[in-house]
Amino acid sequence: MRRREFLTLSAASIGGVLVYSLDREVFRLSARVNKSIRIPLRFLSQAEALIIAAAASRIFPSDEAGPGAREAGVAVYIDRQLAGPWGRDLHRYTQGPFEENVPAEFGYQGQATPQQIYRQGLKGLKGFDRLGPDEQDQKLKQIEASLFFSLLRQNTIEGMFCDPIHGGNIDMLGWQLIGFPGPRMSNFDDVDKHFGEAFRPKPASLRQMTGRKVRPSEDQE
């Protein structure tokens, strides 16, 4: 068995303290506590998680337009997806023969699983998290056309806007950025009103809405 790996996040880097609770949910306690927390990793090593966190936050940066991948816990989301059925291609047709270099309209035809694509991609990003932002952007531009990068970009968006049960979108930060209220049982009174003006109900997660714990697919095995 490999050594248990953790992603250590400092409060300063994420704009608050994340608490990893016993029932495997991450949530924010306070924005002003000066300490760090350790989140157990399921697939990535700590070094890899730091690289993914750094790269995701260049794709979806924390800037004057608001918080980004770092605050939303995108690296935690990606680690869990890679460890779960998606990362291992449990629901993709993986019988051969495999033909690579086929026209894009046939979709991804390769044999490598997302786990393998990430592992391979990460090899090319050694030391990435220690580079300055401009150098990081340069590095990402070099791999922009790769399958690894397109997965990373897609997974970053997923980690920003998924339900918090999946480890990303902590505090529903992503939803707050775009005014998405999450699973909302009824818009009956509002759907044909508010024309031309923003209607932004307070977001609620699936757990808050149902009042019970909902297990995501990556936890069901």
């Binding site: 059925p85 629901h91 922009e144 044909d192």
Partner: protein, 587 residues
Amino acid sequence: MKTLPSVDVVIVGGGWTGLLMAKELGSRTALSVVVLERGGSRKSDDYGEDMDELDYAIRFRMMQDASRETVTLRHTTSRRALPLRQHASFFPGSGVGGAGEHWNGEFPRILPDCFALLSNTIEKYGAERLPEDHSIQDWGVRYDELEPHYTRAELLLGISGKAGNIRGKQIEGGNIFEGWRSAEYPNPPVKIPYFSALFRDAAKALGYHPYPIPAATISQVYTNPDGIARPGCTYCGFCERFGCMIGAKAQPTNTLLPVIQKRKNVSIRTGATVRRIVHDTTQSGGRARGVSYVDSSGEEVFQPAEVVFLASWTLNNTRLLLLSQIGEPYDPTSGKGALGRNLTHQVYFPAATAFFDKPLNRFMGSGASGVRIADFDGDLFDHSGLPFLRGGILLALSLGFRPIANFGVVPQSVKPKWGSEWKKAALHYYDRTGNIVFHGEHLAYKGNFMDLDPVYKDHFGDPLLRFTLDWRENERRMAEFATTKALEIARQTGAKEVTPFPGLRSYDATRSQSTHIQGGTIMGSSPDRSVVNPYLQHWQVSNLFVLGASAFPQNASANPTPTILALTYRTADAIVNRYLKNPSALA
């Protein structure tokens, strides 16, 4: 192989058509009916926790497991086919209710002239206007014959809409171009959200005829003729790829299952994967003896039956006949054989993407909340001077914008695809973006068909179904025309910037383009050119019926479910009223 006691009727597939047939036969006769569904069981209250975009809409929790079985695709017979390794272009359902659980619920009828497409086109434009390699044909059933069954289906599901043509009288506000209707819809139209209202007003200003989409996401509490009550829609925006948590969206599990469960003569076996139809067939004809399936424990089972219904969706209907060697497989070179021919996929694309100044509140809506225009549908506009035949509808659907699927779409003026500049634009435009979508007809061609793949296998080791499919000039020209019209409407809405659809090139299996795949076991009036007769009865094997859109000879612009249900009702009537008295060919 274990052999079970014989039953009167076995139905392969527990979706809309299989369960409707089970309900009809189970309620109107004393026949013993067994439904075999390869997916799991479902009930309406399973959906309380499903409003999770990632697991359901992105990871396809309700769809068939592509790791077990998929299809292969090649664009022409000269290429080698490749498997579609994950769902993207269309979404086959699995489990009780099938794709009918995770549909959007748009419920339009097919235009009357589509049912005699070949005859009507030749009469109006001459045979020389037909594409060289077309294989379109008449359905063998007329709209007037189907009208009462459309009405029954609308009552069953409680469709909400506004009639535009009641017995020939045009009614403003409805679709004045639709086929005649014997009655108004059972429920008033659903609410129209902002983006769809913008489209409606723009279309009207341009002289078109917008109308609310006929919706199975019903507008108010409704009790259907079977006594099944459902609540009105709350516009939560989780229809497409989800089951409805309150049952406002008609689904087989909330509309048919409650009736079936009360019938002692009907049973549903889940986890039962049918691999073959067992039959005694000679050149002149034959008889199905039942089906063989693998149950959830992996055991092979033979279920004998007097009548067999294939109701396992377009692809599996075709594949099971091919695997069971019933009927002559289509040969594109000689043109002989009918099984597998006329594969079509509705021409479906976002014709114009409009970017607005004001927020649209697009999280609110339902799978069928929205507005359509049919001014460019079918042959409702003259094609004499146009480089294509037929057309389709343009619509602005407010189906509930969810963030993973929709975040990141920005106007063409924004170049980066990641980083601060992209993020800023994507945040701004997230709720200021709307698509005007086109659903168009897809003609059938000699070169578009299905057969068994010689290389790739499913998890049992049976060959996968192979698509040979590509667009022709007719679809490409039609798409260009529709895009021009959509851009005109988008500009009229006051959109700040508009991105046109780039055009149809070769068939792109990575682009989501509706689950409206049709053909393979097509119906018709001649056994040489069709697999089933106009009662969906197999021409050679008279105790075998094939239900669903696999019977459609070519693809209309309308969503297929209303017509599938109407045809199933018509077949059920023919079986109850005629076939049971004299089990033989109905046509």
